[in-house]
Structure formats: C-alpha cells, structure tokens
Symmetry: C2
C-alpha cells in the first residue's frame, strides 16, 4: 500500500481497469495514471505438491487487495525495522498471488517486464514485506511493467518427502516451482497488461537473489525470462553435499513429531498449519539438543527439477545467454552492530575508530585501514569495522566465474551510499532497494535531498537499461564494463558514482576470514503462532 | 509508517529529538519538521493484573519503531480492506505502547493534545491498524500534539477471574485500566513533548468510541482528559444485565479448558498465548454448541472501577462538564453489501433502485424513499438501501440524553460524503477517519480532487476546535448548534456541509427494526494462530 499524496481521482469500479487473463477477467485500480492489480492468483497447489493452473472463472474478479503471503514459522518485530520498514500481511499456505503495476493495458504496448522475487531466505518475507520494493515508482519512472509475487516458503516449499511416496517426488522444490509458475503466468498473460512476454527481467535481493540464480539453474524456467539481477545474495547460497540426506532426516523428525508414518503420510497434507509449524519447531529443538544439522530451507538439488548452485554443480548452458547485474552493499550486516553503539557511528573520531579497528583486528589493523582508504577514499575509516567481508569475496569469485563461462555479460556493483539516518549507518542489507526501485524519496532512512534523488535516477535507469537492452549503461553513470574472467570491473554507487577495477582486492585480503552471522537484536521469542522457540 | 514523498532530511541519532520522560530519556525522529516518537512503553502489566509504571532506565531509549500491538484471538484479511487499508504489526500481550507526533518539544509550548483510541471492539485492532488514523497529518495541519496507543484486548483485558482470588479483582477491567494508565502517562509526561497536560481531548471510532465513553464513566480517568469525541460507536455499547455472570461463566470454561482449578489458577498467568487463545476458541465452540451466550469482550461494569454505559447505569456527574462531538456515517456497514453487487452501486437507475428497495422493504418502500429524499436530497435513492439503521437511532437518543443531563454541550454529526471509489459506495464504517485526521489526500478510497480537501480541512479544524475551546465551530463550517434535549441539531459533512435539525426523523421512523449485523466476506478461517475457528 502506497501512502502518498494523491492528485487525481483513483479509478475503480466493476467495469474499470478490467483485463482478460487466460483463466478469466480481473479488475484493478488506476492510481495517478498507473494501473495496479493486487492479489491475482497465478496458481493453485495442494500442500507438498507442484502448483497447477487455477480454475477458469466467469465474470470479473476483484484485484484491489494483496493476496495472502506464505505462512511463516516464526516472525516478529524485525531487528532492522528502523532501517528497513516492514509491511506485514495475513499468512496462508495458499499464497500463489502476484501484483502488477503498469501504465498501459494495451496488448500492443509490449513494455519490458520487471519481476521481483522477495528476500527472507527461502523461509520468510513476502512480495509486500518491505516498503522499499513497492513496484509503483519503478513502473511510473520507467514506464515498464512491474510484477512481484508470493510463493511457498520454509517447510511448505522445501521439505523432501520423496521417501514417503512417489507423489511427494517434488515436495522439496514445490516453492521453487511456484516461482516457475509465476513466470509461466507472466509469459501467458502479461501481454494484456501492456507487457512484453519476450522481455522479462527477474530481480531479487538476499534470498530473492538466490531465487534469481535458482531460475538460471531450473530447466522448467528456460525461456520464461531474459535478464537477471542478483542483489546481496545468491553467491553464497548455502550448499551442502548432504543437503538431501539432511532434509530427509528433518522430514523423518517432522513426520514422527506429527505422529504419522509412511502409511498415514497423506494426513500431513491436512494437519493444521499450527500443528505442522509446531512439529517443525519441535524438530529444530530436538536436532539442536542432539547436535545434528538444522533444517536449511532451500530447494533440493538434483538432476531433475533444480540443478543447484553453479559454484558447486556448474552453470547450466541453457542460461549462459542471460545478461546479469550482480552486487552487494558495503555494510550488509552493519546495522545490527551499529544499532548497539552508545553513540552515532560518525561521532567517533578517526583516532577512536583506529583504536576500535585495532582492538578487533590486532596487527591486521594497519593493512585494513590502508586497504579501506584505497577502496573508499571518501568514507570515514570507522566503516572498515562494518565492511561486509562475508558476501563480498564470494561475489567477486562468482562474477569472475560467470564471466569465464557465460556468453552474456555480467555487470557487478558495490552499493556504498550512506544516508544521514541515525547519524550515519554503513550501507546495510536492503539499503540499495529504495534506489533501484526509485523509492528513496519515500523512505526516512534513505532520503538525502539532492543526493538520493540523483542516485535513484541512475540506479533505476541502469536496472531498466539491463532489462531493455541487456546492458545497464546509460547517460547517468560512467561506463560500466562487464566483469572479465580475471578482472573485477565494478560500478560503485555512492554520492559519486564511479567505475573501478579490482578496487577492494587489498582490503578483502587484509581481513581475517569472517565469523558466523549474528542477529543480536532479534527478540528471544519471535514466534507469531505464540509457540516459544525454546519449547 | 508514512510513505509520502519527503523533502527534507529525516533527523535521527543518539542525541537527536531526545526527550526526558518521568522514567527516562527517549529519542525519536524529526520528519519534515514533525517530531515522531514511536513505541514508548507507558506501563507494564502482568497478565490479568492492573498496569503499573515502567521501571526507570539510564541512558536514552530508542523510540523509532512502533511497539507490539495486543495479541488477538483471530485475524486475517479484513473484509473491508479495499475501503479501509490496514497495517498489521507484531502482537504481544505486553503491548502498553504509545506513539506521539508533535511539532515542538518545548515544555513551554503547551499545545492541545489529541489522544486516539483505536477501534476493533474491545477485542481487535491497534493504534496503527488503519492508515486512515496515522497521526502525522493532524499534528502538522493543526500544530497539535497527537498521541495514539495500544492496550490489552479480548481475553487479556476483560476476563473476570475475580471468583478465582482477590488478586484477580480487576482482571475484568485490565485493558480499560491500560487506557487510564496511558492518559496518566500523558498527564505526567506530555509537557516535555510540547503538549498541555491540562488540555487533552480523547477521540475514538467504533470500539474506540466505546472506549471514549468508558473513560467518562471511569473514576480513575477523572481529570486526565477534558474533551471527548465518539465516532460511530459507543452509544450501542453492548450491555447485558448478566454481563458479569456470563463473563464468569466464560472464565470457568476457559479455566477448565486449560486444565486449571482454583488451586492452580496462578498458572493462567504463564500459559503460552497459544494455549490461552486456543482455550478461548474451544470455549466459544462449546458455548455455541450448548446454546449459551458467547463472550462479549468489554470491561466489567461495577460500582468500583467502571460504572458502565450511561444508557443503562446513568451518567457520572464527575464528567458532565466534558464537551463532546458524537456522530456516525450514512452507510456504516454499506460496503459489506455493496461489495457483493454485480455492478457499481451508481450504475443502477433510480427506477431499478426503487424496485430493489421495494423488494427489501415491501410496503414501507414509499415512506423510506420519501424520508430519504427529504434527509439527503443530493443523494441517489439507492443509498436508502444501505443507510445505517442500527447505530443512528441509538445515537439520536444518546445525544438527547446527554444534552438533557450534561453541563457541557454535545455536538452531533452525520458523515455522508461519498467518494468516487469503486463507482460510489455509501459512506462506510471508518470512512470519516481520513477526514478528521486530515489524511484523505493519502487514501485511494477517500480522495476526490477539490472536494475531499475542503472537507478534511473543515472536519479536522472542527475536531481541533473542540479540543482548543470546547466548541467545534470555525470559519469553514456553518453554525454548529449543540444537541438539545428535544432537538437533534446536527452537522452533515458531505460535498455541501450543512446544519440541520431533526433531519432524518421521518426516514428512521420509516425503516423496520434492524436485523443482526453480518460480515459476509470474512474468510471462514481467519485465525492468525492457525487454529481453525471450527475446531
């Protein structure tokens, strides 16, 4: 939902903004000249089964309200809320809904289509979870068709029950198949929403980046998209040679916790969501107690539906022609740490910052400071404390590997713009979204008069240029060279937008290997169902 | 959260927008010149006990994020979402949080304070549930201090456990006491937020209207507020001579469903929210099966903490000096019916509408049409099908009764403005909120260029004038006469704002008595906990 000052009557009604889809007619709203369709069901699915087409209907279905988002095991006040405002929405496992923003419903308009996969790993989030990725501004600014969607998450999307019967063969990729089905819906229907079914760009951030990469590795998605953008995620997609074995062990625990057996397994499709999620929580508790691997919800890699992360299983040659933008943010998890400082980050002097770096990194401090000053001459050295050293090295390798193998170019970026929010916070996970979605002017934590406007124009234009012509270059940025097999050509999105090569190699080499990620401000009991995690 | 185009840097930081409260310092944000403090804890409470002051703290607490809203038994996609956009938020029984909007934090500023009690009966909703009542615009437009708040709802706020021990004496008014505590917090702290503790107006809609009325009947709230606004609710506050007896019966069922007894009752304070809400749902199911009265969550009337609805227990003389605005909307539940029409309401001709009225009301049709044309000469007669006949007659009586008894005036209104949303929908429950909060320009279903702007200026000014001087009259409206003991003087807020007397007596007399309220589009299973209501 957009809360902006309106200047025109919003046009709605039974015979307004009506569009014919394959299954039937839908009606949306025209808001400030943009058609908005909320909550179109793109597929139906039984629990733990592949999705299928929805039943055709007579008459006109209303598309004014977002559809259910996927049921989630746990949720609560997000630790990053001050930086990344959230929008919660009712949950239901029948969540195959998409939303569309478009300035035309002329079937001959054939505007490029930008599809957004939300983040939250493969276990949380939704198409509307963050204000930052509301599709309205991008559709208006670029005159393109924007689509986002919900799909099955966590146990609902990625529990491998194949040991319990042939009919559950694809239960471990059910939520991934929802994504394919959404793209199939776009292919078959977007023409009537003014879109070009033959020019679809998929984009995603964090878990959504992983989803974009997964589409490249999924045969069923071939031909359904033409360009891809992977933001702050994907390259380090958790991959475990024992993924299937571990997931099947998790399945055994969950089945047992539900008091089911191979004979009664069919009941797992109808137990209440509460009982199912409680069985998951109990399983996590048990695995923890027994020192066994915890469930890592993600699609099951095999040689059939999903080929897995290319870092481990190689690139599928059928998607090597897809041009890509790939990148990450300077701080990524910085806000979790900065949030806990007793004063604003930029209130520390460089001397104090140096002492803090030395305390944390010992004799590596000088190399880190030198590397940081070289890579980010316009930043305070305190940012060296909060520089992402987890995602970035993996991304450098990822891009070079893609450059080595693909026939289409891969364009890499670093987002290091710092707003004035909370006295300065190193660009956090999700911080780039308001900019490539042209929403920075709406977000308290992003807007900087005269600065964020320029940057959001440049970034949104670059993303849309990739969609339009497979190349992000445009008049608002310096020349953006694709990554080469041995050269990290990169665009740095900051107050000054600059193009560099291998700019942070020394910095990355100076850091020790990263430790585990922590979310220190997450409330202890954050289960929406009221089930305490420490059951 | 406001999603509006920004023009200035949002000011935040450890030493920015810091205000001293009785218990410690809080820091907010300055957005477009308005200080916003989100999620200040105004009280703490153990389950089923009265609230108490929060523990003092050292340092500065962040107030950038809304606090938890009260746990709710059931929730889901609201049936009225297209008309009344919702904003959901994480739930927790420890929900005594308030939010403040103010343009000054000068202790000498002494601006009038407007406190909003949210709707949703005494069982649902939150301070941030509807975009329509975001406090920012009112604070900016009127240069006043706006406060809204969460408090305990449903079983958490109004279960009478007094039979289980002296310490639960007030469990049946715990959520009401939260409201008192919030007003006490305002009294003790609002000066440092630029507010005048001696000029506080309480306002509420629907259930919130009931809460406003309850404050007039609660001795502990005396002196904590000075004017009152009651919108579309309160007058018909459910009152049952057997309220306490029925509530105690409900308590017995719940205690039993939790496998507790008088001896083990203390455990009811620590069972998980899931178990408690499941016990409530089971109780509802059992009472339904047994044909017994269902729980009506509302504060327990007695001669001690809460004196009950004046329609039944008389007006407390200690609050007869409080000036009031009271009113309702033409359609109230209209959207639930109009939503199901096969075409837009205004696509029916007057002839078709007459046939529909005749079909519904038989030989009363002509009197209804005549009464409607007299009361609403500028409306299509189809609105006679959707005119509220449930709340309005009770309100007329309520206002006259107050006029007869009170020393301060009571001003009555009818909101009948129809926007162009969905081809025209008779002014629905909540439709007036965007106007008195000066938010109509932000809401798709409210905004009408050149019309809604004028009306929101007039209504917000009237509400604030009541707060400023105990009289809503101002330059933007005709003379607004208070209700008299035998005369319904009323202000009609529509495209033309007009002042009338006894304007709809004939219309109301023409209708048959109202049937029960229905919510036909509510999903069958709308339990957020995943518990099916049909357990």
């Amino acid at each position: 939902m957009y809360m902006r000052k309106l200047t025109q009557t919003v046009i709605t009604g039974h015979d307004k903004a009506v569009v014919q889809t394959k299954a039937g007619k839908v009606r949306g709203a025209i808001v400030e000249g943009t058609y908005i369709f909320r909550g179109i069901k793109y597929a139906d699915a039984e629990r733990f089964h592949l999705p299928h087409d929805v039943e055709p209907w007579e008459g006109v279905k209303e598309a004014l309200v977002y559809g259910y988002v996927s049921s989630q095991i746990t949720t609560g006040l997000a630790h990053d809320e001050p930086y990344v405002p959230h929008y919660l929405w009712p949950e239901n496992e029948h969540c195959q809904y998409l939303n569309i923003w478009t300035k035309s419903i002329d079937p001959e308009a054939k505007k490029q289509v930008m599809v957004w996969f939300h983040g939250g790993g493969w276990s949380g989030g939704s198409s509307v979870e963050l204000y930052a990725y509301d599709g309205n501004s991008m559709a208006e600014f670029g005159d393109v068709v924007v689509v986002n969607l919900n799909h099955r998450l966590n146990v609902l999307g990625y529990l491998d029950l194949s040991n319990y019967g042939e009919e559950y063969k694809y239960s471990g990729v059910a939520g991934l198949a929802d994504l394919v089905w959404a793209l199939k819906w776009v292919k078959e229907n977007i023409k009537n929403f003014g879109g070009d079914p033959d020019n679809v760009t998929i984009m995603g951030q964090s878990g959504g980046g992983g989803k974009v990469l997964a589409m490249l590795q999924t045969p069923a998605a071939d031909g359904l998209f033409h360009k891809a953008v992977m933001q702050s995620g994907g390259a380090r997609l958790s991959w475990d040679p024992n993924q299937r074995k571990n997931n099947q062990m998790v399945a055994d625990y969950i089945v047992k916790n539900l008091h089911l057996t191979k004979e009664t397994i069919k009941e797992i499709e109808t137990v209440s969501w509460y009982d199912l999620s409680a069985a998951v929580l109990k399983t996590i508790y048990q695995l923890n107690q027994e020192g066994k691997p915890l469930p890592m919800w993600s699609p099951i890699t095999d040689d059939d539906y999903y080929y897995g992360n290319p870092a481990h299983t190689g690139w599928r040659k059928e998607s090597l022609h897809i041009p890509m933008i790939v990148g990450s943010n300077l701080g990524e998890m910085a806000h979790s740490a900065i949030f806990q400082l007793p004063q604003s980050k930029n209130d520390y002097t460089d001397e104090e910052a140096y002492e803090m770096i030395k305390e944390k990194y010992g004799d590596k401090a000088d190399a880190i400071v030198a590397g940081f000053k070289k890579a980010y001459p316009d930043h305070r050295i305190i940012d060296a404390l909060y520089t992402d050293i987890s995602m970035r090295p993996a991304l450098i390798e990822f891009c070079k590997d893609r450059a080595k193998n693909a026939t289409a170019p891969i364009f890499e970026y670093m987002f290091s713009f710092e707003s004035d929010w909370d006295g300065g916070v190193t660009a956090w996970h999700n911080a780039e979204e308001p900019f490539m979605f042209h929403n920075a002017r709406y977000l308290e934590s992003a807007f900087v008069p005269g600065e964020s406007d320029k940057l959001e124009d440049a970034m949104t234009t670059a993303w849309l240029s990739l969609g339009a012509k497979g190349d992000p270059n445009n008049d608002l940025i310096p020349e953006w060279k694709p990554v080469e097999a041995d050269k990290s050509n990169i665009m740095i999105f900051d107050r000054v937008i600059r193009s560099e090569t291998d700019f942070d190699d020394e910095l990355m080499a100076a850091y020790p290997p990263p430790g585990p990620r922590v979310f220190p401000n997450r409330p202890k009991n954050y289960s929406r169902t009221g089930v305490d995690l420490e059951i």
